[in-house]
Structure formats: C-alpha cells, structure tokens
C-alpha cells in the first residue's frame, strides 16, 4: 500500500468504517511499517487531544438572561423583509424577459382565420416651390469688386436739413 492510498482511507479507518477485511489489514500493516504515516497519525491524535484538553469556553455571566431578553424583544417584531440578492434579482429579470418574449411570440403566431392587418397608409411628401432668390453667376462673382457693390438705400441718406446747413 502507498501512503496516498493510506491517506485516502484514513478517515474511514479512524472511524472503523472499513468493511473490507483485506483493506483493513493493509491499512494496519502500512501504519505499522511506514514511519511517515505513523507520524501523521500521531500528530493527528496529539492535536485532537490538545483541542479536547483545552476544554470548552464558558458563556459569560448573565448570558442566559441576555438571550432570553433578546428573544422576548424580537418575539413581536415582524421578520424584516430581506431584499433579494443581485443573483436572484437578475434571475427574476431574465425570467420576466423570457416571459415577455414567449408572450409576444404567441401573439404573432399564424392564425388562418385572422383578418389581414391593413397596410399602413403613408402620404407622399408635398413639394413646395422654393422662394424667389436673386441668383448670381460665377462670372458675376468674379467681376465683383467693392465698387460694384449695391448702392446704399434711401434710409441711409443724410437728412435734408443737414444738407441745407452744409450748403450755407
């Protein structure tokens, strides 16, 4: 028997749960001859002895009273509503999405007796004549100089009384 096999059955061996007499004898033999597994077993037993030897911790004084008090305090309060963890919330959303999809799929299924849905009527866009715009040709643009600019309108002419005063 190898050490790995011994360790594989170690727990069952400790609890005397090995039913096969051959395996049981092999385990006992290996434990007797293998120094490594024998130390492993001794360490386990010693460690366990120390834990048990250390004993239990005692509840603090008044612990029983304190427990009874908190039990009574919590006896009438309703259980708090725990919010769903993210995973559950995500699963619920996914289920809702699937349900919507299935429902939609059912409504779209082919029904030979159903009336055909009328095609949507769309009006064609109306053409509107563009407003009259004074156009300028490229050659006119090239001959355009500041002198050829459009003359100023009458609004910008100087007032008549000012012209008269200048003449004087």
């Amino acid at each position: 028997m190898r050490c790995s096999q011994f360790k594989k059955h170690y727990s069952e061996f400790r609890d005397s749960l090995i039913t096969s007499p051959v395996l049981k004898r092999e385990m006992e033999h290996h434990l007797a001859i293998c120094e490594r597994c024998s130390r492993h077993n001794r360490a386990f037993e010693h460690g366990l002895y120390l834990i048990r030897e250390a004993g239990d911790i005692e509840p603090p004084s008044g612990f029983h009273r304190s427990v009874m008090r908190s039990v009574k305090l919590n006896a009438r309060t309703p259980e708090p509503v725990v919010p769903a963890p993210p995973a559950i919330a995500a699963a619920a959303m996914l289920a809702a999405a699937v349900a919507v999809f299935v429902f939609e799929d059912n409504t779209d299924s082919f029904d030979p007796g159903a009336q055909p849905i009328p095609a949507a009527v769309r009006t064609l866009p109306q053409s509107v004549p563009a407003p009259q715009i004074d156009m300028i040709t490229l050659t006119e643009l090239q001959t355009f100089t500041p002198e050829t600019r459009i003359p100023e309108t009458d609004d910008e002419e100087e007032p008549a009384d000012e012209q008269a005063s200048e003449a004087q």
Binding site: Y10, A43, I51, I57, P60, F63, S66, M68
Partner: protein
C-alpha cells in the same frame, strides 16, 4: 425544626419545581411544552444549548464576541420558527443547522468585507495584549503559558482548514455527531461529508505536525 425541614424536603421531592422537572425531560418533550405555551421550556432549551452552540460557532468563526451574538441570533430564530420544526426529527440537529448556517454566512460576509475580518483579528490582538489578570494563582505561570500557547496553536491549525471542512471536522471530532447528522446540518450528502472529513483530518494532521514535533 428538624421535622419541618424533613417535611419540606419530602414535599420538594414529591413535587419538584417546574424548572427541575423540565431538566429531566427529553428535548422533544421540552419543545412540545414550549409549543403548548410554557415559556419556561424555552429557557430550558437555552440552558441546554447555549454553551454547546457557543463553542461550535466559536470554533468555526474564531471570534468569541461575534460567536456570542450569533448564538443569540440562533435562539431568536428558534423561538420564531419553532412551530415549523418537524418534531419527528432531532431538535439538536435542527438547532445546529441554524447555527451552522449563521456561522457560514458570517464567514462569507467576512470574505466579502475585509474590514470586518480586520476588526475580528484586531480584537484577538487586544485580547493577547491584555495582562493576565484574575487567572487562577494555583497554577504555575509557565504551565498556564504553555497550555495557552498550545491551545492557540491548535486553534490556529483548525482555522487553517477551509470553512466547509472546518464545520465537518468540528461537528465530528468535537461535537461527536454522526455522519448522517453532519449531512443534515451541513445540507450535504453522505459522500460529501465523508470526503470533506477525510480531507479535513489529513490537512489538520499535516498542519499540526510541525508544531508538535
């Protein structure tokens, strides 16, 4: 005078107080009594399980103060949900299942929130820094130190086990539960319990060996 005392003694034996009477009853009868409205029965259940649960949870989470809080929480839940308990089953298994789940949640929360873990570790440091006051002076200080040191080493070794292995290990080795009970408490199948226990035992021996050599 002596006759009077003797008469009282006989009466108390013939009609023990309700608390004393409860102590002699099995868990299932005490549970039935609590469900019938006897609040003293619940106090008896707390008396029976407070220490066992405190040690069980403490050994899993390694923080005494938090273990005390969780034991309180276990009893609050037991009180609230006792009417749902299947009385054909063992009460001890049920209460340990609640304790085990709370301890598991505690470890899960700690792994998610490193601050909680840090606070738990800090609390242990503070305990270590405290002078040894009110220790029993009949014991020699070096014996006390050695015992305490060994206890810490072994507790540390148990804490090296992954938490699902630790729970199985504590339930088997320290609480003396059967494989079937452990399977029920940890909500695992029997095969998983066996495999976890084997790994936990081998790992424990491996961790503890260099410390004890």
């Amino acid at each position: 005078m002596a006759t009077a005392i003797r008469t009282t003694d006989v009466r108390s034996k013939a009609h023990p107080s309700p608390r004393k009477a409860l102590k002699e009853l099995s868990d299932s009868v005490v549970v039935a009594s609590q469900l019938a409205g006897n609040e003293l029965a619940f106090a008896e259940l707390v008396e029976r399980y407070q220490k066992r649960l405190l040690n069980f949870i403490y050994r899993i989470i390694g923080d005494r103060e938090r273990a005390e809080d969780l034991v309180q929480e276990v009893f609050i839940r037991v009180h609230r949900h006792l009417h749902r308990f299947d009385q054909s089953k063992k009460f001890s298994t049920w209460i340990y299942t609640i304790g085990s789940n709370l301890a598991k949640n505690e470890l899960r929360n700690r792994s998610r929130n490193p601050l909680v873990l840090f606070q738990a570790i800090k609390k242990t440091w503070e305990d270590d820094d405290r002078p040894l006051e009110f220790e029993d002076s009949r014991h020699r200080p070096d014996d006390l130190f050695r015992k305490r040191h060994l206890r810490e080493l072994v507790e540390w070794s148990v804490n090296q086990l992954p938490h699902h292995h630790r729970a199985v290990f504590v339930l088997r080795e320290l609480e003396g539960k059967t494989y079937e009970e452990i399977a029920e408490i940890t909500n695992c199948n029997l095969g998983t319990v066996k495999s976890r226990l084997n790994r936990a035992r081998n790992r424990f021996a491996q961790v503890v060996q260099p410390l004890l050599d």
